[in-house]
Point group: C2
Chain length 178, copies 2
DNA sequence: CGTAGTCCTGTACGACTGTACAGGACGGCC
DNA sequence: GGCCGTCCTGTACAGTCGTACAGGACTACG
């Protein structure tokens, strides 16, 4: 039914926007419901439980995540290029990916949060290289932070422009080869 | 009395740590109380209301904020140096500064959150320069993100090492002069 | 027409938040 | 000893969270 699928899409769009600007935990079902003109129980009817909202928003990014991890782990230049492209493409949900779910405190095993956290750590390890020293660690984390903020705070700019500008910046931060 | 001041310090230390790793809103008074072996009402007795915890943690950073804004607004090289030093010095509360309170949705006028947000925006404006184009905006936000993540995720490294490594990275991202 | 299924509302629940208030334990001062 | 202020606990409250459940409005199908 088109009406149902339509409300589902509208809920997803509103959730994506609110999650991006307030964070996952700080956005309640009531907030999302108010944004689309429904009650919170209606939102819960379509997405049950709340995690399903995050899961569905992150689904397209998930496919790109595994291709990112499947690429050649040695070439860091290529990794940065792919990473910037990935961040720019999924900038609407980058906060969910890198912070809200990855930085989650508890991380019940088997949950999507745990998978995302290991993904982030794996990316960090490939950036920092084996047995990284202090400066390499700092620069690797700085690179990830630059990625998130660079794409998240410039949502009104065209994606392509963000990607090219961010690629230059990311290359400049990249820790020197160890 | 030393015992009271001591528990105050212990509460502040625990709150600083928990706020850094979970965020301000995601940390309850019960969490802090459990970390120091007290009840949540005891924490509320010393810091009333909860905002006072954040205020007291941010007080030392606040003095540095105004000196940062008081410096010469033209020299961006110098601004970046001072900014990196600032971030490294207050890395334990950098998340509160740049995200938890600055990114707050509501921002009741007169609240510390509003002051912090305008501080962040003012720093951004000085980094990006007057009437910045797309790439300049991207790089300025990327610089701020690199700062936050670079200092927040490397809490176990000596502050000096973080500062020097981050200064190199920040200089590399700095948008070209307009 | 009747019946089944989908979409949504209203109500209610337990868990949790920050806060308010009364009272107890303890030490210093008169 | 009697008194007072500080430090802390226990209880209680209103508010919000995500979720569960019953029932109404509506469409599609027999």
């Amino acid at each position: 039914m088109t009406t149902a699928d339509d409300t589902r899409s509208r809920i997803l769009a509103a959730a994506r926007e609110l999650f991006a600007e307030r964070g996952y935990a700080a956005t309640s079902l009531s907030d999302i419901a108010a944004a689309v003109g429904l009650t919170k129980t209606a939102v819960a009817y379509h997405f049950h439980p709340k995690d399903r909202l995050a899961s569905e928003l992150l689904a397209p990014a998930g496919e790109d995540m595994i291709t990112l991890l499947g690429a050649d782990a040695g070439d860091r230049e290529e990794l940065v290029t792919a990473l910037v492209s990935f961040a720019a493409r999924h900038r609407a949900v980058i906060r969910l990916l890198l912070e809200d779910l990855a930085g989650s405190d508890d991380a019940p095993p088997g949950s999507p949060g745990e998978a995302i956290r290991t993904f982030r750590n794996e990316i960090f390890n490939r950036l920092a290289g084996p047995d990284p020293d202090g400066p390499a660690r700092v620069r690797s984390w700085a690179l990830l932070g630059a990625l998130q903020w660079g794409v998240a705070q410039t949502m009104n700019l065209p994606e392509e422009e963000v990607e090219t500008a961010l690629l230059e910046a990311a290359r400049a931060i990249l820790p020197p080869a160890g």
